[in-house]
Assembly symmetry: D2
Homo-oligomer: 278 residues x 4
């Protein structure tokens, strides 16, 4: 097409959008829980969209998946059992099982269609799901943590934005359940949106996690396809501190994570500290 | 998708565009002659795009195909042999063969891929191509008229915009060849773009046809997916006048064409008359 | 700007949009009744937008204003008193006062800000408002017709789309009031949206006008900046028929209207006739 | 506007765009050097666009201006004379003069219109330009450094993207001139685009700076309105190392910069290190 174009636009807020030129649509469905769209972009390869929000792309998925996984797994000295809530694309699982100490990694994803379509259209992201240490559960993550008290060293909350099926994953009651599902020295990390765009949410989530966990720490990563490009993750920990207890790098071949990046990611600009000083 | 959208945009000029929400892409290729894209729109059903220009859609194709065909075929008293140059989607052919007098309808389309993809994705438009009276030729229309002197009662130039493969179809030399390919009382019609948007082209084309044919007549139709929605067709005729020689309506079931619409379509606003007064 | 663009997009439906490149914004306000935006487009000159709908542009306003005015005023043999409801830009008034028989033209526009900003930013459209025969009333058109029984030979309903302040102007009760405000041989015309895009509305409006007036006639015009480019007007008349009683053209210098265009505009395609066959 | 929208779109690449809803255009001109547009966005306040590239906005300008300034000025132990090349909006100057040691800050901006319009429409960014220590020169920065050998402790290259007037500021010859304009222990920082989007440029610029300066260091900041949101700055230094020689924070009230952020900004992800390992 010369005079014409096909673009995907995500309205990241009422007043801000990101546009990606689309080569073709690959898959679209309305699952039991959400809309699910997969398209081929020129800029970032295949694109996964849930309920109209960019979830991941072939070209930049490494940032999110390395940072949600390797920061907590290099904070805990010996993570054996790890739970991912959400994360049906399998990217977090792929990173988790690179850690030699991990004996079991459970994926509790509410929407089986995310898992199945990721296997088909994002095979390099979903690659870890076939590992024998991985237990894939198509189930409500909230119910799953209720039913598994004291079982996990590390829990990752790899959720969509706090609309639709993920609303319950941004609530104090849920953080309490996560606390109870962790072992005595366990810790968890949740993706917690953008400090430029989601300031109220970040303040609230931080306060909620603080009210449940002895330690709360926020860190940041550059994710080009997420609103504003600045993305936050929040760790709640019973015992270990991500800087004082940082472990030497155990996995090789990372493209975003490194021991230095681990440290640097916790250096929050004052305007971000302000949001969570509560 | 809730927060996100997929839209096709045609830039009809540097400063004007039309946007159509896309459900999915259906087919894309670069043929020997042009880019060819088929998408499913929410507003108009399937959409055919050649070189970035909207060619036709399921929902509004009837206007173009009825008006390019039935006006000349209701001007000629007894059209037996009809040629369509371009028109690979088959829509003009479908209308032509509704005329009982037609013994042979030739489609001379340069790009066989347009024919094949239309058969697959626009079966209701391409439906007439299977008729035994129809002769589909994948060939250069200019060469075809050169090789068939004095053979046709009516010729339709159902071309793309005057860029790419269709440039030669908007030229005086071509109109001369069309003249020679017609019988002694033959007539032809070409789609000749929008009087709001393509004023120079219309003036030039009109002057060129006038210099070849004894009679030149312009008429108009409402086509929502074409730039400005106002589309012109120009008739060059050796003998018959579309108003004085208008035939009673011979085909039934038309959605746009009627004897009254035939007459009314030649009532040109003064600003359009100005373009062609030359 | 090289890599960047500023575009105005009107979503004409959920699935269809028109885009216009903007040179600059000129004026924006929220009046007592609606949002009002004026911008300079590259394609069509200045653009007036009310409640997010394109109302008029410098370059194509002539079509709408000539066709809403000259068709009824060339149907009535001797229009002396004319009322415009809405039409605060003044374009209809400008055309009305070209008719020598007109002694008084009243503009009943509910939103005085439309009148004032049109005078400032569309002086060539608003030019007629200063004529001594013109009486500008900033008032509710519905109340105005209630208060002026039997006074007008011709009434034009030059309204916005049937949302916001114009909702009441697309209702049977209003057509009854218009009937009563007309003289015994009076007639009225309303703009009645696009036969491609607003089919239910057209059917309803036509039925409503038919239930009040002895004669109902629809006609069409090409308006590039309105959805689909095909626009309808509906006439309700007590006595005169727009074809049988058509008057010779009384005004000169028109760019769209002519006696032939007058006739041709009533030639409705069968799919449009179907909408109003009721 | 309800059904319509006005958006500014920057095509950050052929396949990637950012969109900002526009309340109104404020100023547009073609200066001697570039196009210059100022608009009011809903998301980020006033927006400055040069040659179609977002330069700065009211709401996120603090990141860029603090990071281009305070990192080098907290690396040099006693910066007295500072030069900004480009930076006509004045934001870098505003930050520079917060350092008590600074005796003179020169702004060498080639386009005086950037300075003048910033004073008018971004008064809080341009505020420092009135300080008595500031010397504003409307001049070619390349010529300026040629003419001022050995004069500056710190030089900031606060340029537009490497198209148009800024092309010469991304060249080895220029870095050599910058080297010569610095004092014996001087250092400079240039904005050096996005590691996600401009990988070749970053590799080249890094190699060029390395070939001139004993030390080269890259650091990163989150800038939501720049392509991908990940922005790089590159320091070339004759003597001081930004980590080993980091000075205690001398300025208060920063929103992005802190001593921790200073350190963390140099923690480059492996994929970024790869670009500059040369």
């Amino acid at each position: 097409m010369k005079n014409a174009e096909l673009w995907f636009t995500e309205y990241q807020s009422d007043n801000l959008s990101i546009g990606l030129r689309i080569n073709k649509t690959i898959h679209s469905e309305v699952t039991e829980f959400q809309t699910l769209d997969i398209m081929e972009t020129e800029q970032y390869g295949n694109l996964l969209v849930l309920d109209g929000c960019v979830m991941t792309t072939d070209k930049d998925e490494f940032v999110y998946h390395e940072m949600i996984s390797h920061v907590p797994l290099h904070t805990h000295p010996n993570p054996k059992r790890v739970l991912v809530i959400g994360g049906g694309d399998g990217g977090a699982i792929r990173e988790i099982i690179k850690h030699p100490s991990v004996e079991k990694a459970v994926l509790a994803e509410i929407d089986g269609r995310v898992i199945e379509t990721s296997k088909e259209y994002f095979p390099q992201i979903a690659s870890g799901l076939a590992d024998p240490r991985v237990d894939v559960q198509v189930t409500d993550g909230i119910q799953y943590v209720k039913d598994h008290k004291g079982e996990f060293d590390v829990i990752l909350v790899d959720s969509t934005d706090p609309i639709g099926p993920a609303v319950g994953l941004f609530a104090r009651d849920f953080y309490q359940l996560v606390f109870e599902a962790l072992t005595d020295d366990g810790l968890f990390v949740a993706q917690t949106e953008s400090p430029f765009a989601n300031q109220k949410l970040i303040s609230q989530v931080n306060a909620d996690i603080k009210s449940v966990f002895p330690q709360t720490h926020m860190y940041l990563a550059f994710i080009p396809t997420y609103p504003t490009g600045m993305w936050s993750f929040t760790m709640g920990s019973k015992k270990y501190n991500p800087l004082q207890d940082q472990q030497p790098q155990r996995v090789t071949g990372t493209k975003y994570y490194s021991s230095d990046v681990h440290k640097g990611a916790f250096a929050l600009p004052p305007f971000v500290q302000e949001l969570i000083k509560g």
